[in-house]
């Protein structure tokens, strides 16, 4: 159980940590001050979440968060490739932010019911922050996805480019069935379906 759990926490933590780092690269370079500030807020949240997750791993016998985050090499990181891609232009950063944060919010929603209590508690605690991220992403995607010819075509291009990477977020782990049967996490397949499927309430 422990290996499966650690693998799960590592991949979530590394996703948050690396994308938080990318988001922070916008500080001082955003298309307007408000977006510098928004991306910085999200970077701080993400890096804060990764810290909470690395601290959880510490309790499972891993090294301290600074050592884990600042001394591993690339082949020891479990993040999906999507989050490590350079920021590029704002259109790509926004599309990634939208695709990733939608999945992330769903992932933590699933974790609300995790049998591993620390994960369920964290999911509860950061709900509000994740919600802000998805509201921000949805707002800007809707605005720029309908604004001008240039903004629409830029977003379309970035969307087409991003999709294969975005699907990579749901790369199954070797422990899927174990995680599901133990009630720790509902699994990547289920997450991908929810992410894709249109909401029907």
């Amino acid at each position: 159980m422990s290996d499966a759990l650690k693998e799960l926490i590592y991949k979530i933590a590394d996703d948050q940590f690396i994308l938080g780092h990318r988001n922070s690269e916008w500080t001082g370079f955003g298309p307007m001050l408000e977006e510098d500030i928004a991306f910085s807020s999200m970077a701080q949240d993400k890096i804060g979440h990764s810290f909470a997750l690395y601290t959880m791993l510490r309790e499972l016998g891993e090294q301290d968060p600074d050592t884990v985050a600042f001394t591993r090499n690339a082949n020891q990181f479990h993040n999906c490739i999507f989050v490590e891609l350079p920021n590029g232009e704002y259109d790509f950063s926004l599309v990634r932010h939208f695709l990733f944060d939608t999945a992330e919010a769903l992932r933590f929603e699933m974790l609300l019911n995790s049998s591993y209590e620390p994960l369920a508690l964290l999911a509860k605690k950061i709900r509000g922050e994740l919600r802000y991220h998805t509201i921000h992403a949805n707002t800007f995607l809707k605005k720029l996805g309908s604004g001008t010819e240039e903004s629409i075509s830029r977003l379309q291009k970035s969307l087409d480019y991003s999709l294969p990477y975005a699907m990579g977020m749901f790369e199954p782990s070797p422990y899927e069935s174990e995680l599901i049967s133990e009630g720790i996490f509902g699994g990547e397949e289920k997450l991908r379906e929810q992410w894709t499927k249109k909401l029907r309430k």
């Binding site: 990318r22 690339a74 082949n75 020891q76 490739i81 939208f98 769903l106 699907m167």
Partner: protein, 56 residues
């Protein structure tokens, strides 16, 4: 709570190509990354690794 990808995209002029046709880029979860990750990590740990015995 959260609206899903398709629902949001529908409210824009963007087209979502069939997700089933996408070939997912895997590898990251098992440590096989693009060429972009190591330079990111090198930059991030530049100070931290410059004096491993130090506290900052």
């Amino acid at each position: 709570m959260d609206k899903k990808v398709e629902e949001i995209i529908k409210q824009t002029q963007l087209q979502l190509t069939d997700l089933k046709l996408q070939k997912p880029v895997f590898g990251g979860r098992s440590g096989k990354h693009s060429e972009h990750l190591q330079p990111l990590l090198d930059e991030m740990s530049e100070v931290f690794r410059s004096d491993p015995s130090a506290e900052w």
